[in-house]
Amino acid sequence: MKRYQELPIGGVIPGGATPQLVQTGGWRSGKKPVFNEKLCVNCLLCWVHCPEATIVVERSQMRGISYDHCKGCGICSQSCPTGAITMAIELHDDSHRPKSEVSEEVCV
């Protein structure tokens, strides 16, 4: 970790978002959304309602789910009108948990 002299002054974070530093995929506890392309009508309601922006859309086409930030909330499967996203059992496997997590409990 950087010494104080090396940090930008004023607590400024230059350079935009740092998704690589906050990977919350490890928050999923037991279930993850699974995408079945065959059933998808590309309404993108899953995309619009995802709190983590984990639905991968390319050229306005639903392409799948990125699990780096997916917390497994299940909103996408509830939003899907055709059953193209279902919540599947995810076996607990530490090797898939990202190393840099942020703490869940932050109160001010």
Binding site: K2, Y4, Q5, L7, I9, G10, G11, V12
Partner: protein, 394 residues
Amino acid sequence: MRVATTHLTLMTGAEAAAHAMRQINPDVVPVYPITPQTPIIETFAQFVADSQCDSEIINVESEHSAMSAAVGASCAGARVITATSSQGLALMLEIVYIAASMRCPIVIAVGSRALSGPINIHCDHSDSMMARDAGCVQIFAENAQEAYDLMIMAQRLAEDRRVLVPVMVMQDGFTITHSAEPVALLPDQTVQEFIGEYEALYPLLDVDHPTTQGPFALPDYYFELKRQQVDALDAARGVWLELQKRFAEISGRRYEGFFEEYKLSDAEYALVILSSTAGTAKVVIDRLRRKGVKVGLLKPWLFRPFPAKEIAQALADKRAIAVLDRAISFGSWGPLYLEISAALGRYLQQKPALYNYIYGLGGRDTPPELIASVVTDMQSGLDPTVLRYLGLRE
């Protein structure tokens, strides 16, 4: 006789500060009225109304919002000045700390006024002393001329890349803000050249290079970010010395060092006083010197960063020193005394007798006789471990 004063214009300290603001012509001026600061922003508003400068004034709904808008504007990339007093400073104080931590070079003109309660509109330094740990540079002006000069220096000091913290410029409420005195103004162009253009380090409005400003820092980083503020205040010392030289060149007025010494070098007894009462003390010193009493004055301009080492050196050979405080830290002593005491303790082997007097709270007048009585006290070798009050019925 006429020649001596032709460069001078009679104006109040508040008007002098407003003239400095007019010449600086900042981008944004968020303000809220409060006695005795109000004539600063009224005078400035008239300058804007008369097209003598073209800043954007935001007439906010509280001092808290004044400082909040100031931080927003400053982070956006604007040059920002605001002004306040007393309860107004108390209300904005939460955000003054944040302004310092976000490294906003905001200039804050303060008309010093006692804090409530009971409510009182007159001068003491309890407001600025309350803000002493906020992370701002704090400069005290003795009179209207200094109030003007220091505002201009403050702008440049705040914006120096080595500093980048708010700078508070204090002038005594009513005694200076509402008192008309001769002031020499600099040409507008000279002021503009002195302060230069302001370019923010991380302008929020640079939408092509998005920055996140004011994030949430936990124990893993908060400490480092606070440590940076220490460096900023330390750097302010050197920048202040550089600026004085440049300011002397453009104005002929000298602010040498961190404090003014008045007949101090050969003095046996020293008075340490901030702001307008230091002026009265000079008159007292002249009178006592004529009677053969070797007394001098040390008047700090800078209170933050506190020039501890230099003050200790300047006071090292005195027989006795009296620090006059226009504020009190309840349960302790005067804030200026505590600084001087720490400075002497840190830097001197042999310490002079050090006295502390609280004076002038809530605008209680301090005539020359009271200041002279302090010198008499020192001469008679009173116990320096007793905190004393000047002009108090007790």
